[in-house]
Structure formats: C-alpha cells, structure tokens
C-alpha cells in the first residue's frame, strides 16, 4: 500500500477532487453549455445548419486552415527563440536577472490592440527593418513569438532551475560530451515542461485574436476572429456558437495529444533549490552565450516595448510626461484612467484567489491520479484557454440569472478572469508536482507522518514555489484581460484594457497619448507584480 498517496482517500483528498470540479463545472462548463444550447435553439428548435455553413462558407474554411497552420508554426518558432532564454535565465545568475525575468513576462499581458500599433510602426515601411511586413503571415508569427516568449521562459525555466546540474556533470564525467549530456540527461527531464509550455503556446496562438485582427488585416483570420465576427457584426449567434465548438474541438485534440506525450515522458527527478543551481558565468564561452542571449532578448522584446514607451512620452513640445499627468487629472472626459487602474488592481487581487485555489487543487489531483481520470481532468481543465472570449462572456450572461441574478454583478469580472487564469496555475504547478519523488513521501510516511503532514511538510513547500509563479501569471492575466470582460454587461467599472480601448476609439492626439501612457502603466504594474512574486519565491521558499 502506497501510504504516500493516501491523502487523496482521506477527507481532505476528497475535497481536493471536488474543488476543481465545482469551480470549473459552475463557472466554465455550465455557462458554456447554457450559451451553446441557447444560441443553437433561438428559433425554438435545435438548428444545426450553422455547422454546415462552416464547411460551405469559403471564409470560414480558410480561417480553420489558417488557424491550424499559424498555431503550429508559431509554437515551433516560439520554442526555438525562447528555450535559450529559459536556459540562461534559470542556469546563470547575473546582474539584472530578476528584472529581466519579470520583464519578459510583460509582453504576455499587454493588450494586443496596443502592441499591434507598436508593431505596425516597427514592421511598416518606415520601420527599422525597412520592409513592409504589414498584413503578412510574418507579422503575425513575429508578434506571436513576442507575446508567448514568457510562457516558455517561465514554465520551462522554473523547471530547469530545479534540475540538479550534477546530473549533467556526472554524464560529462562518464565521458559524454556537452551535447550528448544535454540530449541524454537534461532534455528528457525537461520534456514534460517543454510540452506543457508548447501546449499553452499552441492554445494561445490557436485562439489568437487581436494580433491576427490587427497585423493580419483582412487577409488572415483565425476561428476566434470568425467567432467574434459572427457574434458582433453578423449577429449570427448560431454560427458563432458552432464555430466556438469547432475551435474547442481543435483545442481538445491538441490537449489530448499533449496529455499522451506528458504521460509517456513524465519523470521523477532530483530537485534542487534554485539558489545553488544558478551560477555566475565562468568561462569566456559562457559569457558569450549569456551575453548573446540577453542581448537578443532585450532587442527582440525591447523594440516594440521601447516604441510604445517612446510614443507615450512624445508630446508637441518634445519628450515629456504630459500624457501621464493627464492620466491623473483625467483630462479626457469619457473615461477616468486613474479609476481604471484602481479597478484593475482590485479585480486582479480578487481573481488570483479562486484561480490559485482551484488551480492548485486541480494540479494536485492531476498529478496524483494516475491513469485516464487524471489525464481526462487535465484536458478538461485546460479547455478555458481554448474557449472563445465571446463564449465565456455570453455564457456568464445567460447562466447566472438564477437562483441569484448575478449577471450585472461586478464580481463576474474577476470571476471570468479567474476562469481564464486558473489553467496557468495548473500548468505551472502540475509538472513540478509530478516530479516529486514518491520515495520522499514514503520516507516521511515510514517515519510516522500522517498523510496530511506528509503533504504539508514535503509537498506543500514544493508546490508553493510553483503556485507563486502561477499566482503571478494569474494576476498578470487578469490585469491584461480584455476579451471576456468586453462581453460581460458591467456596472460601468472600466479596467485598464477597456479604458485603453476606449481612448483609442476616439480621434485626437490627446486620446492617443493617454492610451499609450496607460499602456505603459500597465506594463510597469505587471513587471512590479511579477518581480515581487519572484522575490518572495526566492527569499521565503528557496530551500526545501
């Protein structure tokens, strides 16, 4: 009898299984089913002709094909670009490492409408590249790598820094060269986290909306764009729901493949504290690798961000902080940026709690339940990431009118954010949890620790590290969330992204300037939050 595993059969264990099911069932599956049924039965009977339309309509067929193609290419490209970054940031300590690690997360949470504008400037005919890449697939791929770089760096990186370097050293001592040691020792250990990161990047690019809309112009559309188009312009709810289901099916297929891969490659590994793993570069070769990686990272991620910041500082009288001052003054009448900042912080704080609670409980269950149940749960709980924002927003609106009418409650905003954010927590915690050696648990159990105590003393410290990373992601996702928020009916509480969108919707230099300044504020907030979590993570839980 594996006593280390028995927590799941104790009372607390049952709660752990129930928590994610209740959370995702109530706030994801239930609204989803309600809105899909409502959309397909608007005329009083079930109408499935929308599915036929997807096949017969040329623009929708093209959207489906383009969605798969660009998601695959974007995922491969992101891995190629970001893995060196993950390596350097997790294996080497150097001045500014923490800031850099926080900064790479910034693009990930920026509203695409803002970054899209920066990219239009960079990739336009007057940009530094000198070629006009607007409305090409290249522009979309470049922006996708930019947005998703952080996913790979943080998920793979937080795992990489737990791998004991002595393993590779041992391989080298036994005669393997550097490449052999990496390929035969480190890479197999990393695979689960690489697969986890790749699956998230794939989901994001598969459901990409803003980037494709702005940079792809009219030539390219993803299924997500088509869902949105049907819901907001064509006003065809049935077509929109049918497309959303097709997208979810695509996402579920990809997740299923990922889960299979994950099961085959999951390995237990000896984890080490990051404090001892990261070391300063020693040889000239190491300096070169670290230096070149950092330089390319700064250049690639910095260019659009730099463009954005520079534009926010541009005023008629030369560079200055005028637009920032007017954020506080609220110079524009129709939206109060200062209020939006306060609202967003509250929403982020409120969204992190359920997101981390549900995500953590889910991860524990997934990691501890071997076999098909855990795998199925894993797939199911990732689905919110692949669900159209239209569906989540409309779903809340249709579902929560009974027994309490919550449809216009302000709490729906952080709740929607938490549904979108919880999968991040799961993805960051599960790989770490899977790698916990059962012998550690068994040893503790043999020494007389109760299941609860085993959990608290052995596993909790490990989970906490990963959970904090997840919490950072969740807060950042909430701060930048725009899609689902826009499809709720809100009691007039602007968030930072909705305020930016609002400001950009009106002509005039003052509005554009404020939108750019507010975007910069959003970037700073995100950086600060991620840095704070990183600091806490290292200081409080560095050793275990």
């Amino acid at each position: 009898m594996d006593r280390g595993r028995s927590l799941l059969r104790s009372g607390a264990g049952r709660w752990l299984v129930a928590a994610p099911l209740v959370f995702f069932g109530l706030f994801f599956a239930y609204p989803l089913v309600r809105v899909v049924l409502r959309s397909l039965t608007l005329d009083g009977h079930l109408d499935l002709s929308a599915f036929v339309e997807i096949v017969t309509k040329g623009s929708l067929r093209r959207a489906a094909w383009f969605t798969v193609w660009q998601a695959t290419v974007s995922t491969v490209a992101t891995l190629l670009f970001a893995l060196p970054g993950a390596y350097v940031l997790s294996r080497y300590s150097f001045f500014g490492r923490r800031l850099l690690r926080a900064a790479v997360t910034v693009p990930f949470v920026l509203p695409t409408v803002v970054v899209g504008a920066a990219y239009l400037a960079l990739l336009g005919p007057g940009g530094p590249l000198g070629v006009d890449l607007r409305q090409t697939a290249w522009a979309i791929l470049i922006a996708h790598v930019f947005f998703n770089y952080a996913v790979v760096v943080r998920i793979v990186g937080s795992f990489w820094e737990l791998i004991d370097p002595r393993l590779e050293e041992a391989a080298r001592a036994l005669g393997a060269n550097r490449a052999q040691a990496f390929l035969s020792v480190t890479l197999p250990l990393l695979l689960p986290s690489i697969a986890a990161a790749a699956s998230i990047v794939f989901l994001f690019t598969f459901t990409s909306f803003g980037v494709v809309l702005i940079l792809g112009g009219f030539s390219y559309a993803t299924i997500e764009v088509a869902v949105w188009r049907e819901a907001t312009i064509n006003l065809d709810l049935a077509a929109s729901a049918a497309l959303a289901l097709v997208q979810m099916a695509g996402v579920a297929t990809a997740l299923w493949a990922y889960t299979r891969l994950q099961q085959r490659h999951a390995r237990r590994l000896p984890l080490r504290s990051s404090r001892t793993v990261a070391r300063r570069p020693a040889t000239p070769g190491q300096y070169l690798v670290v230096g070149a990686t950092i330089a390319s990272m700064v250049l690639y991620l910095g260019a659009p961000i730099g463009t954005l910041v520079w534009r926010s500082l541009r005023t008629a009288a030369g560079p200055g902080l005028d637009h920032y001052a007017s954020l506080v003054r609220g110079a524009t009448s129709f939206v109060d940026p200062a209020e939006a900042i306060v609202n967003s912080l509250w929403f982020a704080a409120a969204a992190v709690v359920p997101a981390v609670a549900a995500g953590l409980a889910s991860a524990v269950v997934i990691a501890r339940r071997p076999g098909p149940l855990g795998a199925r749960l894993d797939t199911f709980l990732m689905l919110p990431l692949g669900t159209s924002a239209v569906t989540i927003g409309f779903g809340f609106l249709v579902a929560f009118d009974w027994p309490l009418d919550l449809r216009t409650s302000v709490w729906l905003i952080p709740l929607a954010h938490s549904v979108v954010a919880a999968p991040f927590v799961i993805r960051t915690v599960t790989p770490v949890l899977r790698s916990v050696q059962p012998r550690l648990r068994e040893a503790a159990a043999v020494l007389g620790a109760s299941p609860r105590r085993v959990f608290r003393e052995v596993e909790l410290p490990i989970i906490s590290r990963a959970a904090l990373v997840g919490a950072g992601f969740a807060a950042a996702v909430s701060l930048g969330e725009f899609g689902a928020t826009a499809f709720l009916i809100r009691p007039g509480r602007p968030t930072i992204p909705t305020a930016i969108f609002r400001l950009l919707g009106q002509p005039g230099a003052a509005n554009l300037g404020q939108a750019l300044a507010l975007s910069t504020v959003l970037m700073l907030l995100t950086t600060v939050i991620i840095m704070a979590i990183d600091r806490y993570r290292v200081a409080g839980l560095g050793e275990f």
Partner: protein, 349 residues
C-alpha cells in the same frame, strides 16, 4: 390536514394577487439603462433626470453595439435592463426581428426629423455619418483634389491613397460597405462589387478596425500613417480640433460629403420591463435639450432633436451630408452576412 389546506389556500391567494396586479409603477423607481461601451454623458446629466422624476438610473455597460444586441437577444426572457441606448440602424433589423422592444412614441419626437424615425419601437436619439475623411495637407502636397464622389476613388490619381476598415470586423467598415451598395447597387453594369474590384486595383488598404485605420494608416490629424484618405466619421475633424495637442484653430482633416452612410442611434424600452412608465420618462429625457446638447462633445455624434444647439466646433469644422446613403434595417439584416462574404471574395481573393 385542515391547517395545511388553509395554508395552501392562503398561499394560492397570495400567488393569484401577485399574478393579477400589475407591478407598482408609481413613485420613485430604479431604471436600468444598458448602453454600448462608447456611451458617455457629462456628470450631472443623468442626475438631472433623477432630480426631475425621483427615479434612480442604474447604468450598465455592454460591449459594442452589435454585442449589446446579441446580449439582449440572449437574455430576452429575462432582460438585464429596462432601456437600451445605442443600437443603430445597421443592427436594428435584428432587434426588431427578435421583438426586443416595446412600442413607444415619445411626445418629443415632434422635434426630430422624419428621416431619422424608422420604427415605433425605437426612438432616434442621435446620428453620426460615416464619411471619407482626408488629410488636407497630405492631398495638397500631392497636388490631388479631395474626391467628390465615391467613383472618383477608382481614378488612378487616388491609387494607394485610401485606407478602409473591414466590414466584417468594424462598424464604420460595415457602414461604408453599405454606402457603396446603396450608391452602386447590386445589379447593372457597374455594381458595388465592380467598384470594390476597382478599389483593389487602386491599391486600397484594408485594416481590421477603425483604430488601426485612423491612427495606424491615415496621415491626417493624429494619424501616424501615410495614406491621406480614410473611412471615418463626419465628426472626426471636430474631434481633431478639440483633442488637438497643442491646440489648433483649423481642422487638419476634411470630410467628403458624398457617399456617406448615416448611423442612427436609438433608445428602446426592453419588452417585459417592470417599470414601463419610468422607462418612458427616461426616453423622453434623452430627447430633451439637456441630454441632446450634451451628446456631441461626449460621443461625437449629432443630436436628433433639431432644436438642440450644436457646439461651435461641430458647426465650424464639419458638414452634415445632405443625402446620406440609405439601406433599410430589414434589408441590412437580411443581407449583411451575405454582403460581407461577397465583399471578402472580391477583396481578399
């Protein structure tokens, strides 16, 4: 057992009383007003309604106009609001088809021109014309006159100068497509599709949304692009003056008054509201001068009430087109999806 019977009878009486009597519709009530996310009125405007009537307004913000209509369709059986503001004629057909609104003819409609009244179930509150805007200096530099008709845009001298929005992703884009359909028609030698084919030959740039067209690709005013002609609003030049940084005395952009499409924004009382009287009062208030004169500088559209005074900038820096293109709401609703698909086939392939 007898006691239970009495209890049941009493309950039934109470239930019958509830079902029978219409809800109380006098005295101070709360009116829920749902608007699109571009709604804004000056502080004190809705408060004046509250002071005059004793009612309270609860403002709810939906998505854009199209999203708001779908939100109302989805919640038709149990509406989240009593009054909807901001549905325009491009989406009106859908809402009427779904019977979202109760009929109401406001006494204040006498001050509204007949051309804005499309149906008794909705009350016109404001209108905005989607028109071509041009960069005055940009065209002058090229030695090109502003176009005076849509057809002019197919002339080689306008090659590479125009940026428009995708009708499938942008509300002004859809309005402009409707203007071309109304102008060139679906039949004959030169249809709207012929026109768009010629625009493609003339290197028209299509963007997804108004923001990327105006800020990203248009060269006039606050635009940072290189194309001097854009599909925007007749009220954009006044906005350029009002939000100029530094202040200016002349609008940097102009409006082409031919080939405009008029978006009329309506208020409607959502069917099944428990407070119909207060809802009607709110609609009346929206047609009153306080609300009407507050509209232009906050939402950059024109008031429907002819007696409302326009701000100076709206008089000096723009024109109201005499004969905007007209397509009936039912016709739009019946063909919108097909037109967009056909447009994609012409322009994207």
């Amino acid at each position: 057992m007898r006691r239970l019977g009495i209890l049941l009878a009493a309950l039934m009486l109470v239930a019958a009383g509830c079902a029978d009597g219409t809800p109380e519709d006098e005295g101070p009530q709360t009116v829920r007003l749902v608007t699109h996310d571009s709604f804004y009125v000056s502080e004190g405007t809705l408060e004046q309604f509250e002071a005059e009537t004793g009612h309270t307004v609860e403002h709810l913000e939906a998505g854009d106009a199209g999203t708001m209509v779908n939100q109302a369709v989805l919640t038709k059986d149990n509406p989240v609001a009593d009054v909807m503001f901001g549905i325009d004629n491009t989406f009106l057909g859908r809402a009427l088809d779904e019977d979202l609104f109760e009929e109401y003819v406001s006494p204040r409609l006498v001050d509204v021109p007949d051309s804005l009244k499309l149906d008794n179930r909705v009350t016109p509150i404001d209108f905005g014309d989607v028109c071509l805007n041009y960069d005055i200096a940009g065209l002058a530099d090229r030695g090109v006159e502003p176009p005076s008709t849509l057809r002019d845009l197919t002339n080689p001298q306008y090659s590479g100068l125009l940026v428009v929005e995708h009708p499938g992703t942008s509300s002004p884009g859809l309005a402009f497509l409707l203007a071309t359909i109304a102008t060139f028609g679906e039949e004959g030698d030169y249809t709207w599709e012929s026109f768009w084919s010629d625009l493609v030959v003339n290197d028209v740039l299509v963007t997804a949304g108004w923001e990327d067209a105006y800020y990203g690709s248009f060269s006039g005013g606050s635009g940072e692009g290189d194309r001097p002609i854009v599909v925007s609003y007749a009220s954009s030049p006044p906005a350029e003056v009002i939000y100029a940084d530094p202040p200016v005395t002349e609008a940097p952009t102009g409006v082409v008054t031919a080939g405009c499409f008029r978006q009329i924004e309506f208020a409607g009382i959502l069917a099944g509201t428990p407070v119909p009287n207060a809802a009607r009062q709110l609609v009346d208030f929206m047609l009153g001068l306080t609300f009407q004169e507050d509209i232009p500088l906050n939402m950059f559209v024109f008031p429907a009430n002819e007696n409302a005074a326009l701000p100076d900038e709206f008089v000096r820096y723009t024109e109201i087109p005499d004969e905007p293109a007209v397509v009936a709401p039912e016709e739009i609703d019946a063909n919108r999806s097909r037109w967009i698909e056909e447009w994609i086939e012409v322009v994207a392939s």
